[in-house]
Amino acid sequence: MSSKDLLPNDGLSEIDQEFFCQAPPEYISPLPKPIEDFMNWARSESLFILAFGTGCGAIELRPLTTSRFDMYQYGIQMRATPRQSSVFIVGGYASVKTLKRIVRSYEQMQGPKFVVTLGSCPINGGMYWDSYNTINRIDHYLPIDISICGCMPRPESILAGFVELKKMIRAGQCDGANLYAKNFAWYKANQKRIIKDWNMPDYNW
């Protein structure tokens, strides 16, 4: 890799720069079809959610873990660290301050990774569409696989959304990590447009 392809990481101080990766994310081409299909089936049956609650939608996730809705029966469970999770949930409105944390957490997850948004705020801003500190369209900052609308969606609709997500994963339609790698410059430019004091690495895994 030539030095031209390296990330600048110019938000970091010189001492910090060597601790973070300078390589941009890469496109991972799929394996031969039968193997990829089997892998997709396995991925869809063990969805590990990153326990990161943003906005008001996170409160609707808690009942899913209890015996009434019981998301474990669908192979979904919570993980406490981005390194072990495969599903990122943006649970409602995202302010600029939260978006910074969302980007960092998302980039630390290992691919293939899937993003689910809850509620109308990540789709078009919802009731905060004219607010000065709430972003309107999350899909300009992160690749989104499925949006569950509602304000807020009930646990039943979240479960229905997960069932739909599993179908999409099995069909091989959820390629968010590759989409992010492909359009990395565009996503980064959008993120840096609103996070003005960019003091973190450009890609931090």
Binding site: N124, G125, W129, D130, S131, Y132, I135, N136, R137, K196
Partner: protein
Amino acid sequence: MMLEKLKQTFTVTEVKEQKKNLTFFTVPKEQMEMMLITLRDHHDYKHLSFIVGIDMIEDGVFKLTYMLYNYETNHSFGIHCNIDREKAEMDSFHHLWEQVGTYQRELREMLGINFEGSPRLEENLSLDEGWDGPPPMRRDFDTKEYSNNTYFQREGRVNYDPREYMREQLYPTFPKTESDKLLNGGGKK
């Protein structure tokens, strides 16, 4: 009465007894510090509940309200102080109550009022990540325009006037002028 006594030394105007245990009045900016010290040290109003700032753009002032509370009598004083909107500066009272510093940080961040000497005044509480716009709670700040210029709008969002929309949905044949007349009171009481 305590208020009569205060009036002898301070310029107390616009006294308003909101309810039995809550009284509002206004004092000039220069007398504010002495007023707070007098109430705190001589009249037992030891607790500062909160400070709020209101943007009275029509009068060209920010109205600051300091709410003091007396534990003995359960009585509160809301002390208004009008400061100039163009030259928004106020004395810092963090030496009287330590928590005042936090309120003053918030007022600096949201309304752009400068409190000279207040601790950690330049640190934002919520407007982080390099905010470079004007203070957002000022009423001349157009939040919709800022949102349009900064964030990506999704196409196809339509806003309806609720009254017009309901009329068209429910009574499409009813003439518009007639319905307006009825809805606006129509002359009959």
